[in-house]
Symmetry: C2
Subunit: 148 residues, 2 copies
């Protein structure tokens, strides 16, 4: 996941406030969990971590907040090839899109940015006259370490 060293903590929160989104203690807890995540988190991990900061946070608030963040284009939702279960994972949306490679043997998730990915999106915008809001490219297979 993208952890730009330049990211200011609380950036996500102020970004939303500026957009007129009301801030609550529960939202602050959830946002800070997402902002400081060291790996891709699913809804129930976000809930668990958020409850450590504010014990009142409820499951439904997490889902509602994730919906809100998706609508505002602040996070991306991933499936990571549904390697275990059907849950979704979330990550902060940063400037540039990247794709996810999921190793089906060791479970490692690798991210990759590519100019070709950008070109492909441009091609869709142009040739299909499709206005892209989200683009999700997930690849399943074997990583360098797992392929013999």
């Amino acid at each position: 996941m993208p952890f730009p060293q330049t990211e200011i903590p609380g950036r996500l929160q102020s970004q939303l406030s500026e957009r007129g989104v009301r801030m609550t203690a529960q939202r602050r807890a959830i946002l800070s969990v997402i902002e400081t995540a060291k790996k891709h988190l699913d809804a129930s991990s976000i809930l668990r971590k958020a409850q450590k900061m504010d014990a009142t946070v409820d499951r439904s608030t997490v889902y509602r907040t994730l919906e809100l963040l998706k609508r505002h284009g602040a996070i991306d939702e991933l499936d990571l090839m549904h390697m275990e279960g059907e849950r979704h994972f979330y990550e902060r949306k940063t400037g540039r899109d990247h794709l996810h490679m999921a190793c089906l043997r060791c479970g490692k998730i690798t991210e990759f940015e590519s100019e070709l990915f950008e070109d492909l999106k441009k091609q869709l915008e142009r040739d299909c006259r499709f206005h892209i809001l989200v683009a999700r490219l997930e690849v399943g297979g074997y990583c360098a370490a797992c392929r013999k």
Copy 2:
């Protein structure tokens, strides 16, 4: 979805038989539903349609058969940007990969094949030394008709 006019009906079935997969009446029904689908179907639509051919087909058999087909690389699983609900959609896997564009306004799904997509996959294989088994590119946004 890809409906190659050249596809021989029952092709999927013989492809699996050759691989040593045991054929049952239930599997034949499910395979024929998938082969003749005119649009992307989810598990419960496949169940409903398969039951019209063989009333004994059970939900769990559909899920188990979809698992089998995925393992054999005979079908691809799609999320279609989870536009409504969390269910998955399935389509026959044909030679060439294609991407799916989902219009978030009208719900239309458009498929697109692109040399750039192939190039991008080649880049991953080469630069990341990642052995690709499945590649799923889904795009959400507004189609030509819905963008003003």
